[in-house]
């Protein structure tokens, strides 16, 4: 054995290790990250779960990822089992996509300090170094939609179908109401939280209740609104959607949808992981960072002045001239 050659090899190896450690690059270049997503409803729910699935698919188009998805976990205990299972299987990033999963994640993340966890919508990382949180400033799109809805309404009454008054659903509804009032101070906005994220029949009846009191423009958030869209379609009431593009449900009445582009923050989370940061950070999508995008339905004949109101509001929010929900 040549001692000089051995020393050279040892030095090269040591230099390589030092280089990696100095840059904090725990996930060495070339390694395909394993990402797991646990979400409450179906991957194609045209709402919350679909938005994260589309987000990760957008990332997959840019970089190689090994992605596993467990959807339909409305039962938190089922989600908790899946979160733990993925962490135990060595997934690098486990995303718990639902504010109801926070309690479980807090317990599980402690047991897997080398696994990165992200959850939302929330702004709470529990002070843990391997937990990140993410949220959607859905109030911004809500505000834009509210302004357009008020301008569009002929009856002066707008109906809102909400699930439970939490998370991005509450933000969207509050933003929508604020936007409507900003456009028309005397507009009537009836908000109905039905108390469920999954009761499609009840959401449909809530929409009927809104129509019965004279609302001619409706909106709603969360997975169960597909029922409400159906009712709005039958009665030809205009619909504003959020979370995903819901035009396919009723092209004749969907005016516009606020679409979540989670890829914006997923890209940041993965970039931070590349730098060895497993958590402790808060991420958010907004109109300004293009994580929230208002998609208009071309098939809906939206009056130009109403569209202008929406576009102006988007610009104003992006430029910081309007701060929604101060």
């Amino acid at each position: 054995m040549n001692p000089v050659r051995t020393l050279k090899k040892a030095l090269i190896a040591a230099a390589t290790v030092a280089l990696c450690l100095s840059s904090g690059n725990l996930f060495a270049a070339g390694k395909v990250l394993k990402v797991a997503i646990i979400a409450p409803s179906a991957s194609n729910d045209l709402a919350f779960t679909q938005s994260i699935v589309e987000g990760i698919n957008a990332i997959k188009a840019e970089r190689e990822l090994d992605v596993a998805i467990t959807d339909g976990t409305f039962v938190v205990e089922d989600a908790a089992a899946a979160i733990r299972d993925y962490a135990a299987k060595g997934y690098d990033l486990v995303i718990a996509h639902g504010s109801q999963y926070g309690g479980s994640l807090k317990e599980i993340a402690k047991d897997f300090p080398k696994t990165a966890f992200a959850w939302g919508t929330s702004a709470d990382t529990f002070g843990m170094p391997n937990v990140s949180s993410y949220e959607a400033h859905s109030e911004e799109g809500g505000y834009v939609m509210g302004m357009m809805a008020a301008a569009l309404s002929k009856s002066g009454s707008i109906g809102v179908v909400g699930p439970i008054e939490v998370g991005d659903a509450k933000l969207y509804v509050d933003g929508f109401v604020a936007g409507a009032k900003a456009q028309k101070a005397d507009i009537k906005t009836n908000v109905n939280y039905i108390g469920s994220f999954s009761d499609v029949a009840l959401a449909a009846e809530a929409a009927r209740a809104h129509l019965a009191v004279g609302s001619d423009v409706l909106t709603g958030t969360a997975q169960m609104v597909v029922g409400a869209v159906g009712v709005a379609k039958t009665k030809k009431a205009a619909w504003f959607g959020t979370q995903a593009n819901q035009t396919v449900l009723a092209p004749e009445i969907v005016v516009a949808c606020q679409v979540y582009k989670w890829e914006v923050i997923l890209k940041q989370i993965l970039a931070d992981m590349d730098q060895g940061v497993l958590g402790g950070k808060k991420y958010a999508i907004s109109l300004a960072n293009n994580g929230l995008v208002i998609e208009f339905n071309d098939k809906y004949e939206l009056p130009a002045d109403v569209k202008t109101i929406g576009m102006d509001a988007i610009t104003a929010i992006k430029e910081g001239k309007i701060t929604v929900l101060k």
Binding site: L46, I194, M224
Partner: protein
């Protein structure tokens, strides 16, 4: 508050309550029939889910809600056949078997939906049928006689089932098998046939209940029934295994839900009490169940498998 008592709102609320009650009524009637023959089926929700998906899929492909509803019934009857074999021939424990059927329906309906449909697409719902003359009666007409076909069918089944159970030999056999199958067997009536038929009809109605839900909503989604089947079972106890009692329970549940919805829409129920109010239908139904159920005895042979000579 005055808004709530305006004619328009009253009509809308009652009509909403009737629509909400319909799937419960169909499923409860079917379950009541099965239980009167001595067979408990906790799998109603699973059968409803399968009926909902099959009906949705058929309407998506054919554009015909009636064919969809028929497919839902047929699917339910197939499930009934399977459940009858498990409980009547194999003498399986009925509670556990029912839960198995439920879990199967929950998973299979979603799997089929994901594989065969994917993105939820809207389907044509049942059209509203305005019953000539009756629909023109002030207030009552729009409340009761402007619904879809499935609503009328559900409520017409109530007197039909009452007649069936109380005034026909077949109905008497069902009730007798549910009380004392050995005695019926000794008279030469086939307990197996009676239970098979009651379970198949009952499950057919559960399939129709699911179909009604999907077609009325014009959409299908994972776990569309949201555990309606379990509430339907509770309503059978509330209704003391009698069709009119079951109808009363379904209507109470539907009406309370509709009143709460309308109250929230009008702002009569404040948003701070929204979640509490959402529990009202279940709480009131449980309260009524406690008051009513103890007055009536359940079928003596309910959930007991029958084996000749044992």
């Amino acid at each position: 508050m005055n808004d709530f008592f305006s004619t328009t709102i009253l009509i809308a609320t009652v009509a909403s309550g009737i629509r909400l009650a319909t799937p419960f009524l169909l499923a409860s009637l079917g379950e009541a029939l099965g239980q009167r023959s001595g067979v408990l089926n906790l799998g109603v929700d699973g059968v409803m889910l399968m009926g909902a998906f099959v009906a949705y899929f058929v309407v998506l492909k054919t554009g015909n809600p009636l064919i969809g509803a028929a497919a839902g019934i047929l699917l339910g009857m197939v499930f009934g056949l399977v459940y009858a074999f498990i409980t009547v021939n194999l003498h399986a424990e009925q509670g556990v078997s029912g839960i198995g059927i439920y879990l199967f329906g929950l998973g299979m309906s979603d799997l089929l939906f994901q594989k065969l449909v994917g993105t939820p697409l809207p389907i044509m719902p049942f059209p509203e049928i305005h019953i000539p003359l009756l629909a023109d009666i002030p207030i009552i007409g729009p409340m009761l006689f402007t619904h879809s076909l499935i609503v009328y069918v559900a409520f017409l089944l109530v007197p039909a089932f009452t007649l069936l159970l109380n005034s026909t030999t077949y109905g008497m056999n069902i009730r007798a098998v549910g009380e004392n199958p050995a005695a019926v067997d000794s008279l030469g009536v086939s307990v197996t046939k009676v239970r098979y038929s009651a379970i198949i009809i009952g499950n057919g109605l559960a399939g129709l209940a699911g179909a009604a839900l999907a077609i009325e909503l014009g959409i299908f989604q994972h776990n569309l029934t949201n555990s309606m089947g379990f509430i339907a079972i509770a309503l059978v106890y509330f209704g003391a295994w009698r069709p009119f009692g079951v109808m009363a329970g379904s209507l109470i549940f539907g009406m309370v839900a509709a009143i709460v919805l309308q109250g929230k829409t009008l702002g009569i129920i404040p948003r701070s009490a929204s979640d509490l109010a959402a529990m009202a239908p279940a709480v009131i139904t449980i309260f009524a169940l406690v008051l009513v159920a103890n007055r009536f005895k359940q079928p003596a042979a309910l959930s007991k498998p029958y084996e000749r000579g044992r």
